[in-house]
Symmetry: C2
Subunit: 561 residues, 2 copies
C-alpha cells in the first residue's frame, strides 16, 4: 500500500528541487502567477457512503479471506478507490471520493482469488483487481453503480521462483518492481522492466496494462516478457502453457495482457529474464532540433542497434530540464562555460537544442561495438556529445517526476502527462499536431513539452508533459478539456490511444475511434463470452454501459439495505 | 497453385539425390527392404461426389467473383481439398479425396472476400481460406459434413506496398515468399521469413498458422513481424490500427495470428521489415554429443547473441546428412581425410558427433563481434569448427526436404516430420521421451532423427524426422500410430503442441491436454462469439463437433438436391 494517500510514494519521503527559486522563476515566466492549492489534513475527514455489500456477503467474504483479510473501513476504502492520475490527486486532496469501493479483500492464495471471483460472479458484485494502485487512467476506480469489491493482491503467495536454466521466473501478481529485482539480481538476472511507477507497481498490474519500462527499447514491453500466466476468471482458472513459442492457436497471453481486469484477475506470471548487464555506456548528446534527433533515433533502431535507453527531449523539454539543474558553481561553472563555447561552434545553444540520453548496456564488447555504431549515425545528424554526466543525471532522477508533481500541485499548477506511439512516417506530424492541440486547450499560460523514449524499427512513442495554472474550482473540467483535445488529435493522426498507460475509464470514449467499430465489437463480444455477468472491472476499457447486466438500481438498494 | 498435385513443388521441377545409391544403401540398412509405392497417373481419374452447393448459391457466388472466379470442376476441387502432409500425399496418390470442397472461389478484392464470407454466413456454408495449400496438419481439408467453399487468395489485389520510412510493408494475403522478397529486396529490405514452404506458402497462411522461418532466431516468428492486419469475418471487416506498440486493450493481431481461418479470412497485413544483411558468416561445428550442443545453444542465446541460423542436428540426423552428401573425390577426398584426422584429435568421429550450422548476418562489425563471442562459447562446449562448407551446403539444400519426401514415397518409405518447443529445463528430457515414443511406435525398422533450429532465451524447438517402411494398405493407420505416440509424449512432457506447423485437424484432439480445459473453453467461447454460425473453417483448431450448428444432414441433402 502506498501510504502518501494525497500524492506519490511513501509518506516519509519528501522530494526537494535542486534549486527551487530558479525552477519557479522559470515556471512563473511561462504560467504567470498561480494560486497555491490546499489539501485536507487527513483521510479521517473523508466520509464515504456506507458499504453496499449485504451482511451475508461480507460474511461469505470473510469466510474466504478471514476477518483480517477484509476491510470496509472508510479511510482504507478511500485509498483503494482511486489511482494516481492528476484527476485523482485533485479530488483526494479535497477529500472527494465520488465512487468508493465497498470492501477491500486481501487474498493470500490463488484459491482465495478464485473463490472471491466465483462469489462475485454469483452475486453480481463488480471485482476490481488492485496491484500498486498507480493507474493514471482511472483503472482502479469503481465505474458502475452496483456494489464493488476491490482485490488487493499485495499479499498473494508465491513470491519469485527462478528457473535459471530457462532464464525465467514465476512471480506472484502482487510482487512490486524492487521486490522482484531484489530476488533476481543475486541470481544474475534482471527483468529490465523499469516503468516510472517501478517502486510501487506490480507484475500483475504491468501485464494487465501492457506496461513499458524506461529501458523497453532493449528489454521490450512487459507483454513480450510473459512466457505464461494464470488468471482467475468467472468461469474458473486459466493457466497458459509455459513454452517459449507456439503455433497452437491464438496467443491467450496476449489476450489477457492489456485486459485491465476486465477478463479476470492475474494471479501469477512466468517472465523471461535477462542477464544483469555487466557494462553500461550512457551518454548525453545535443541535436540542433527535434527533427534531427528523431531521424537519428529512427536510423539507429533500423540499423538493428538496441539501446537500453534512447530518450530524446524536444526543445521545450530540454529547456525545462536545464531549469531543473542546480546552477553550476566554482570549477563546474568553468566547465559549463567551456561546454557552451564548444557547442556554439557547432551552431548549438543549450536552451534551443534537443537533448538525447543514449545508453547501451550488456557485455562490454557488444556495448562498445553498438556505441561506436551509434556515434557514427549520430554524427551524421549533427549531434554533439555532452559526455556521461547527462546520463548519470537521468539515472538519478528517473523515478522523480511523480514526486515533483506533488510540489506543483501544492503550488497551484496543473501538471499531467500523456503518451502515444506511431509509425515513423507519421511521427513528426503527429508530434506537432498533438502539441498544438494541447497548446490550444491550455491557452496562453501553458507549457507543453515532449520526448521520444520507446523506439521500434517501425515507429516510436511520444510522451507529453503539460503544465498550466490551475483554474480554481474548475480543475477537473480544465484538465478534461486538455485531455480531450490531445486524445482527439492522437486518434485523428493515427497514433496509439495509449502506448503504456492503458485505457481505464479515461480513454474508453475514444476506443472506437482508435480501434474501429469491428475492433470494439470484438472486445465486447469476447468480454461477454468470458464474463457473461459483466462483473470484471466494469466500465473500463470497452465502451458501453458500465453496469453489470442484471444489477438494476432497485436490486442494488435491496442488497445494501 | 502448386501444379505437382501428387507431391511438392512445380510439376516441371525434379529433385535429384547427389548419390542415390549411397543414400538408399544407408536407408535400407536401417529400414530393410521397402516396396515401391505406386500412384495414379492423372487427377482425371479422381471422381468426387458432386458439389453440394445449390444452383442459387453458385449463381450468387459468380455474382460476386464472376464466372472465371469460381470453379466446381472435379480435378480442381480435388487439389484444393488437401494440404501437403504425409497423409494427404498417401491419399492423393491413390486418387482418394475423402472430403472434397464443393467449390473454389478466387476473390480479387477485399470487398469480394467480405461478400463471400457474408454469403457463406447467411447460407451456413463452411469457408476455408487457402493460401499456398502447404498445410501439413490438415488445415485446408474440409472437416464437416455441410457444404464447403474454399477461398483461393492467390489473386487478391494489393500486392506489396513498402513504407521505407517505417520499415514496413503492407502486403496482400495471397502473396508468396519469393514474390514478397522480390518486391522488398530492391528497396533494401527483407522480411527474413524463410519457412521450408517459402516457395509456395503465403503471407496470410503464415500469419494464420504462426509460421516460423529458418532464420527465426534472428528475425522472429511471423506473429512478431505483424504490425497490423485486416480480416473479413462473419460480422464484417476487422482492421487493426497500424502502430508499433500499444497499451490499448488485448492485442487483436495476436488473436488472429494462429486462428487458422476459424475466425475469418486474413486479407492483408502490414509487416515489419529488416535491412538486407550486408554480411554473412555461416559455419559448421561439430559437438561430441547433442547435450553439449544444446548447452552451447542455450548459453549463446542467453548471452544475447542472435544468430540467423542455429541448427543443431542430433547424432542420427548428422549421420543421415552425411549419407546424403556426394562422396568426396580427388582433392576433396584429401581434405576430407585431413578433416577427419583433425576431428579425431578432439575425440570426435564425424558419424557419431552432432553438427551445428551457426550463421550470423547483418552489418560486418556486428557479425564479426557476434561470431567471435559465439566461438568462445562454443569452444567451452568442445565444439570443433568445420569451416564454411557445411553452412553453404545447408543454404543450397534448405528447401529440399519436401522434394526428397516424394522420392521416399515413390520408394515405399513412410516419412514425416513433427515438431515442438519447450523450455530449456525440460529440453533434453522431452527430446529423449518423444524420440523413444516415436521409436516405439515405428518398431525395429525405423529411423528417428531430430534437430534444434529455433532458439529463444527461455527455450528452443525440436524438429523430428521419422522414416519407416510403409505398411501397404495400412499407411494411414501406421502413420497415425506414430503421430499419436509422439504427440502424447509431447503434451505429457509439457512441450508446445506445435511450434510452427499449427493445429489443423491433426492436432486438435490434443488441444485440451495442451491448453487445459479453460484454455479450450476460451477458444471455443471466442469462436462462437465472433462466428456464431460456425462457418469459418469448422472442425479445425478447437476440439468439438465439426458441423455448423444448424446444418443437419437433412438440410444439407435438401440443399445439394
Amino acid at each position: 500500500m502506498i501510504s502518501k494517500w494525497w500524492g506519490w510514494g511513501d509518506a516519509g519521503r519528501e522530494y526537494h528541487l535542486p534549486d527551487p527559486q530558479r525552477f519557479w522563476r522559470y515556471l512563473r515566466a511561462r504560467l504567470g502567477p498561480t494560486e497555491a492549492g490546499g489539501r485536507i489534513d487527513s483521510l479521517e475527514r473523508v466520509h464515504l457512503s456506507p458499504s453496499r455489500l449485504p451482511v451475508a456477503t461480507l460474511s461469505a467474504l470473510t469466510g474466504i479471506v478471514g476477518q483480517e483479510g477484509l476491510s470496509t473501513e472508510s479511510a482504507e476504502r478511500a485509498v483503494y478507490s482511486m489511482g494516481k492520475g492528476y484527476k485523482d490527486l485533485v479530488r483526494i486532496r479535497r477529500g472527494q471520493v465520488a465512487n468508493p469501493t465497498d470492501a477491500v479483500a486481501r487474498p493470500q492464495t490463488e484459491e482465495q482469488v478464485t473463490a472471491l471471483v466465483d462469489l462475485a460472479a454469483r452475486e453480481r458484485i463488480a471485482v476490481i483487481p488492485f496491484g500498486g494502485g498507480t493507474s493514471v487512467v482511472g483503472g482502479v476506480e469503481p465505474a458502475g453503480r452496483g456494489p464493488v469489491l476491490t482485490l488487493d493482491l499485495a499479499a498473494l503467495a508465491g513470491g519469485v521462483r527462478i528457473d535459471s536454466q530457462s532464464s525465467a521466473a514465476t512471480v506472484a501478481a502482487g510482487v512490486t518492481g524492487p521486490e522482484l529485482e531484489r530476488h533476481l539480481n543475486p541470481a544474475g538476472f534482471t527483468l529490465g522492466h523499469f516503468p516510472q511507477s517501478f517502486e510501487f507497481s506490480t507484475v500483475g498490474g504491468w501485464i494487465a496494462t501492457r506496461s513499458a519500462g524506461q529501458k523497453s527499447t532493449l528489454y521490450g514491453k512487459i507483454e513480450q516478457r510473459v512466457q505464461a500466466l494464470r488468471l482467475a476468471y468467472p468461469g474458473g482458472l486459466l493457466a497458459t502453457p509455459a513454452v517459449p513459442a507456439a503455433a497452437a492457436g491464438p496467443d491467450l497471453v496476449q489476450l489477457v495482457a492489456g485486459s485491465e481486469g476486465t477478463l479476470g484477475v492475474i494471479t501469477e506470471a512466468t517472465l523471461r529474464l535477462s542477464p544483469i548487464p555487466r557494462h553500461q555506456d550512457y551518454r548525453g548528446y545535443l541535436f540542433p532540433g527535434f527533427t534531427d534527433g528523431v531521424a537519428a533515433a529512427r536510423e539507429l533502431v533500423q540499423a538493428g542497434l538496441r539501446p537500453a535507453v534512447l530518450r530524446l527531449s524536444d526543445e521545450a523539454e530540454t529547456e525545462s530540464a536545464l531549469a531543473m539543474r542546480p546552477p553550476p558553481q566554482g570549477m563546474a561553472a568553468v566547465v559549463e562555460r567551456a561546454g557552451r563555447w564548444y557547442l556554439s561552434r557547432g551552431g548549438l545553444r543549450l536552451e534551443t537544442a534537443c537533448l538525447m540520453i543514449l545508453g547501451f548496456e550488456g557485455k562490454e564488447s557488444a556495448v562498445r561495438e553498438q556505441s561506436a555504431a551509434a556515434r557514427s549515425i549520430l554524427r551524421r545528424h549533427d549531434a554533439r556529445s555532452l559526455g556521461a554526466a547527462p546520463g548519470r543525471a537521468w539515472e538519478r532522477s528517473r523515478y522523480d517526476a511523480p514526486y515533483l508533481r506533488d510540489l506543483l500541485l501544492d503550488g497551484g499548477v496543473m501538471v499531467d502527462t500523456l503518451e502515444t506511439a506511431t509509425t515513423w512516417d507519421r511521427y513528426l506530424s503527429l508530434y506537432a499536431a498533438v502539441r498544438e492541440a494541447i497548446r490550444g486547450a491550455l491557452g496562453d499560460r501553458g507549457v507543453v513539452m515532449a520526448h521520444l523514449s520507446h523506439c521500434y524499427s517501425d515507429g516510436g512513442s511520444i510522451y507529453y508533459t503539460f503544465l498550466g495554472p490551475q483554474e480554481r474550482d474548475g480543475e477537473i473540467e480544465q484538465w478534461e478539456r486538455v485531455k480531450a483535445a490531445a486524445t482527439e488529435a492522437i486518434t485523428r493522426q493515427g497514433g496509439a490511444l495509449s502506448h503504456h498507460h492503458g485505457i481505464g475509464s479515461d480513454h474508453r470514449a475514444w476506443m472506437e475511434a482508435y480501434l474501429g467499430s469491428a475492433g470494439v465489437e470484438w472486445l465486447a463480444a469476447i468480454k461477454s463470452a468470458l464474463d457473461p455477468g459483466g462483473v470484471m472491472n466494469p466500465g473500463k476499457l470497452i465502451p458501453g454501459p458500465p453496469l453489470p447486466a442484471n444489477s438494476s438500481p432497485a436490486e442494488t438498494e435491496a442488497r445494501s439495505g
